[in-house]
Symmetry: C3
């Protein structure tokens, strides 16, 4: 009598092959409920995702779903195949959103292995994958390269020669995908800010002021909602025997809180178009309060659009530490002890 033969225990480093393709399980129809939960879980206030009236004034059929939520859904689907046995999430590159996602759309995700490199201790290795989320018409909604360190099942297992893919250091502004929107009907007052792209300066720093306390119940709900099976986030019993001795909040929960907090200062950043890079600097636990601040890294005009500009923003989230002193990375390359997230991304914003 076989036991466990039907249980998925995830892939280990030696199970991956360069060029291998995965079609991930459980397509997901997103609905108005996901839009409401995105507000209830993170307190997001961006008008485009909150109001059908606001969205229609931009020429969209209705309010699209929050960009970060699309990321959560897509990455959640990849976990059982790619990162169930991950040691750590190492990085992202070439991370772009495609067509907007609306209630009723069904998302599916697939991944291709781009590279593999065993670690010198032979107990793990780095896996590079390109993951793509698509809607029910096959349109790309999100596409990115991610690399994770994954355990080997058997350290002695032989593996192939290292293949390390080249990825772009940042997404070029000309590669950003523009949603099909018009800024003619953009309502700054409804959006909550009179500051447009023109009003931001490179180097400008913005304290987002408020902080959101994360309860275990909250971040576990996120993880389950995105059907993310990374056990470290929702198993307190097993968590006792980890190096942290407890559950870790899903990193995406912190990203969405930081995005929601950034409304206060970046309210017209209506679309996250790309992520250039990011790091979960330290874990977040139930009971921690997340604050955030942002710095404008770069401003880019967009080819053929005089109504929308791109703002390259770095948002840093810190726990139990208000961000009016802008905690970040010191000259020694070390982060302030409160920092939990450092995210570099492109925002779209209306121009004057």
């Amino acid at each position: 009598m076989s036991n466990n033969s039907k249980t998925n225990t995830g892939n280990y480093f030696e199970d991956f092959r360069v060029g291998q393709e995965f079609r991930h399980a459980t397509p997901r129809t997103l609905t108005e409920a996901d839009a409401a939960l995105n507000i209830g879980l993170y307190g997001s206030r961006f008008a485009l995702n909150s109001s059908d009236v606001f969205a229609r004034a931009l020429g969209l059929p209705r309010a699209p779903l929050d960009d970060m939520m699309i990321f959560h859904v897509v990455i959640g689907k990849t976990v059982p195949d790619i990162s169930l046995n991950a040691v750590a999430n190492l990085g992202y590159a070439e991370f772009r959103w495609g067509v907007p996602v609306y209630p009723g759309d069904t998302l599916a995700a697939r991944s291709t292995v781009l590279g593999l490199r065993e670690n010198s201790n032979r107990s793990s290795g780095v896996v590079w994958v390109r993951s793509t989320g698509t809607n029910q018409r096959g349109d790309m909604v999100l596409d990115y390269v991610r690399w994770v360190m994954v355990h080997k099942r058997n350290p002695a297992a032989a593996v192939g020669e290292p293949v390390v893919p080249k990825t772009a250091a940042a997404v070029a502004p000309s590669d950003l995908i523009m949603p099909d929107v018009s800024m003619m009907g953009y309502d700054d007052e409804a959006a909550g800010s009179l500051y447009r792209w023109d009003d931001y300066e490179v180097g400008e720093r913005i304290d987002h002021v408020s902080g959101y306390t994360v309860e275990d119940s909250d971040h576990m709900f996120s993880t389950r909602l995105y059907q993310n099976t990374a056990r470290v986030h929702f198993d307190a019993h097993a968590g006792k025997n980890t190096r942290f001795g407890r559950r870790l909040a899903y990193g995406g929960h912190v990203i969405s809180l930081a995005r929601a907090l950034s409304f206060n200062g970046l309210a017209n950043g209506f679309r996250v178009a790309a992520i250039n890079g990011g790091s979960h600097v330290a874990p977040t636990f139930g009971g921690d309060t997340i604050y955030a601040w942002s710095e404008v890294l770069e401003k880019a005009a967009l080819p053929g659009r005089d109504d929308i500009g791109a703002l390259r923003v770095r948002t840093i989230a810190a726990k139990d530490c208000p961000c009016d002193s802008f905690p970040g990375k010191g000259p020694d390359g070390k982060y302030h002890r409160a920092v939990v997230l450092d995210l570099d991304y492109w925002l779209l914003m209306p121009r004057r």
Copy 2:
């Protein structure tokens, strides 16, 4: 390089002017998800808000959203402009619901400053505003006068002569706005009670029996869902340095719990039509259990309607104290130590 210039830190007392108008940010499309969350967060069982079949039997297109939820959405939108720097919420008047709100409707809110009066210590003052919530057609869904005590940024700042608006002590029954419903198809059994307007007596007291325990995760979800930015409700880190040493539950969370509990005894009170006055007598914290009881204050027939009557009800919520002993306000004008809410409102109920 300017810091923080784009951050909204809210208005202070000296920033307000009588006659000033605000169009509040972030219009919100409410959906079926908000209806479900209203049930999941508070356990509401009123059939009209729960069942499209029940609603259609009254001539409505489908189940309207919960009345108190409309209040939460509207007041949440006013916070960044009106009460981000509030010391205390002082009162409400002329508080009426207008047209029902259905899934798909988009609500917006605006306010006009009606009055201003500096406190004698000059560190704060009282601001009176009339706030109005409207749907996407501009129909009024909620309209009320609210007064809050707001900090001054600079106690030395000069302010104008006091202007104190007159507000009605209670909403007159003839001013209640009737939803366009027929009681012909009203199904008492589905509604959960055979008691109609005719069966209630002035002075009658009703213990609602059950109690709901509030977790921090629950009330914070409410606050975020309504995009309410009052930090005292969701920042545990900052909460440590307040006089309570912790987060306070959003008062509206307690109102909705009391309304949900009141089902047991007032199940046919299908519509909250107006609030005459109300007071958050004491704060509620995570871990508290909310019980409630009600007293019938007044019964009013409604002009031109022999099928619907208005019941003026006072509902008192108390924490960690079952309400079979009807804890309230003593002859000395002091509340029982368990009381957290005292709300005086008009309910619509079918007549025989």
Copy 3:
């Protein structure tokens, strides 16, 4: 002045009569939000309930709502009339799902008393009811016999002769109700498993590996969402004076977690068609982590269907105890101390 006369305090054993019928209050329109909350609360990953595209490939109009959620809604409605004064939930029989439930359907519930038997101590008795959930067209969505032990209000009250109904020991495969689906378009990869009915063997045991930690906030949300008024689940103040000294998680919350966990090993079990029997072996509290494993008890071909088979499965959930050692019932008839749920049910699964 009458107090409390309008408050429902539930029926006691002596209030029931054999043949008595109840039409339970608060019909409920289920929506896309309930589908999303089912995922967010329990982490369910079954493709049929998650994706409209997957459902349409089976010939359904869209993704039906989760089967267990239908149970929660129906049983929740019966509580105020049947089990508000229950001592214990004793059993279920002849428990079958009927037509699928879709977003927009309105469910109502009714019950008929089938049997009554006073306990020898005369302080309580067993009540058997048949409860039926229907949609807005009157189609049966769920039908079952349940027996509960209910307090007497007055131990001295005279009651009738005992009537004990006969119920089937298990649901016969030929009595299972088939949803109107075609397996032609069944997508195993999207469903998350290549194992179909043919691949399972009687006696096979499957560890579902993961565990979900339950917070008080989570299980209370479930109870409220299903408008279930069993106070033991959401009143921490009253809970202090119970034999457990605290709130108990709603048993259905644990059932839904076990169902969600069972995805890992039973991913193609797209429909729970019937429950043969089940027992809440021990209470679950906030903070407990639920794991699960299953055993295949029986395989049945279905009359007239060569594309779908029925798998009789027993799923056991245990708290704070990973299930790789398959904790269950010992030869002495006693359960392993970690077991909280033992559920025997029929799953539908595609055949090769």
